[in-house]
């Protein structure tokens, strides 16, 4: 199993890097500005980046596609299927979310965003068709249906600390 090292770069973003089997180390810097940078480490001076390639988010996506896409991004693509203005998505209920511990009715999610919760996934077990009295807990994943913008709004509400 390849070991990926994560390093926080305060004010810049996050660096992930790992050693390839050939011996070279390669990494990706995710900048706060969403730009990506690919870095390749020097063989003689392993602390030093010998080559760095800066990419826009679009270019990074193209590269990821060319590399066959990761299983992570493929799953993310599958998760959100849009059908003519209607989207379905999986939204985590954050630990500090003000909605954790409230019932679906109390969240007024549908009134506020037009998004309906059609199921809840708790500890990997689905609770299909929850009623308004169903309680949301931190760590739950809410399966929601609505417009794309409504889902964005719902995601912000549920994730908000």
């Amino acid at each position: 199993m390849t070991e990926i090292v994560e390093t926080k770069l305060p004010g810049v973003g996050t660096l992930h890097d790992f050693a390839c089997q050939g011996g070279k180390r390669i990494g990706v810097i995710t900048h706060h500005s969403d730009r990506r940078e690919i870095v390749i480490y020097d063989r003689d001076d392993p602390d030093r980046v010998s080559e760095s390639i800066k990419m826009t988010p679009d270019e990074a996506r193209i590269l990821a596609d060319l590399l066959g896409g990761t299983s992570v991004t493929q799953r993310l693509d599958d998760l959100r299927q849009e059908i003519a203005g209607l989207a379905i998505d999986w939204l985590p209920v954050a630990r500090h979310s003000p909605y954790a511990g409230k019932t679906i009715g109390e969240t007024e999610l549908r009134t506020r965003t037009g998004v309906s919760i059609v199921a809840i996934v708790r500890h990997d077990r689905p609770l299909p068709a929850p009623g308004p009295e169903q309680e949301l807990r931190a760590g739950d994943t809410a399966v929601v249906v609505g417009t794309a913008s409504g889902i964005d709004a719902a995601a912000r509400l549920l994730a908000r600390a």
Binding site: V12, L15, G27, D47, R48, V49
Partner: protein, 402 residues
Amino acid sequence: MILAATPGTATLLVELGAILIALALLGRLAGRVGIPSIPLYLIAGLAVGEGGIVELVTAREFIESGAQIGVILLLLLLGLEYTGEELTDALRDQAPAGAVDLALNFTPGLLLGIVLGWDVRAAMLLGGITYISSSGIIAKVLSDLGNTGNRETPVVLAILVTEDLVMALYLPLMAGLLIGGDALDIGIEISVAIVAVLVALGLAIRFGNRISALVFSRSSENLLLSLLGLALLVAGIAESLQASAAVGAFLVGIALNGPAEHGAREVLGPLRDLFAALFFAFFGLQINPADLPPALFIAIGLAVFTAGTKLATGWWSAQQVGIDRPGRLRAGTILTARGEFSIVIAGIAVADGIESELGPLAAAYVLILAVAGPLLARAADPVARRLRERDARRRVEVSRAG
């Protein structure tokens, strides 16, 4: 159409236009030569101030107000670069490096001020000037050299974070000391200011998400107005609490995150570039070029010495996390650049008028290290390579001899 265009307005527009064009040309020149634009903006200010080539009269007032907004925007955008989590993490993990940095780089300025027979407060300001590295120049050099992913870079960035946090306490401290009065008053003043900063920092970290959601707007016009309004308001309140406007703006920057942060960088970035340029020019403008040559000798000595202490700081800190010698050299050299924040501190001294020698000395000092810092950073890798080759040759010779 400008109604009632008085001769004053016309002069103001012409002067402002001319200085902006001059700054633009200098910025291009800096880009061509590969040095930061800050020193050239300073020189432009020197040229149009008292004793300069031409003296701006009408535009001076506008540039002065612009300079104040420039400081606020500089610090606001600096705060945006950090999340609260990054600040607390850096403080937890890098406290020793931060302490070494403070001890090695604040002390030379402080001692020199005392040796020169200055007021202790002026000496403390000089200590601040030699202490704080330029995050702006360093970020640019890291990116230009493609060194962002280097192993020593997290060390460099963590040192910058601790410096910025120290600034958030140092500026209110100095503001309180400069007002003067009896010891009890000063003590109360400073305690109130520092408690206010700490409380605000806590609030910014804790409620950043909520504040960000409140000011966020999809319309960039609304976003710009609410962000700028918030920053100026908080900066003004901070100033009235003697906690320094710049620190207030820095805290607003830390509080913002998520979409509001992204938007802020986009809409405020160009504004920052404009007003920060005016800020550097204004600092130069306040200094009479005739005062520079006498200060130059001391400035060179101080620059060489404090380049050395920064080099030692970076070297030691990188060594602590197991970085090899070339990386230690890179960390040390890149930290030598001083720039915008040294000018912010020097600007306080000049505005206060506490020590007439400090302004010219600080200007000369920053001119030297803003140019030399990036050049030293660029030289680090070739020098490291030569050292390594020399070591390799020596090993070969040793093995032959043996």
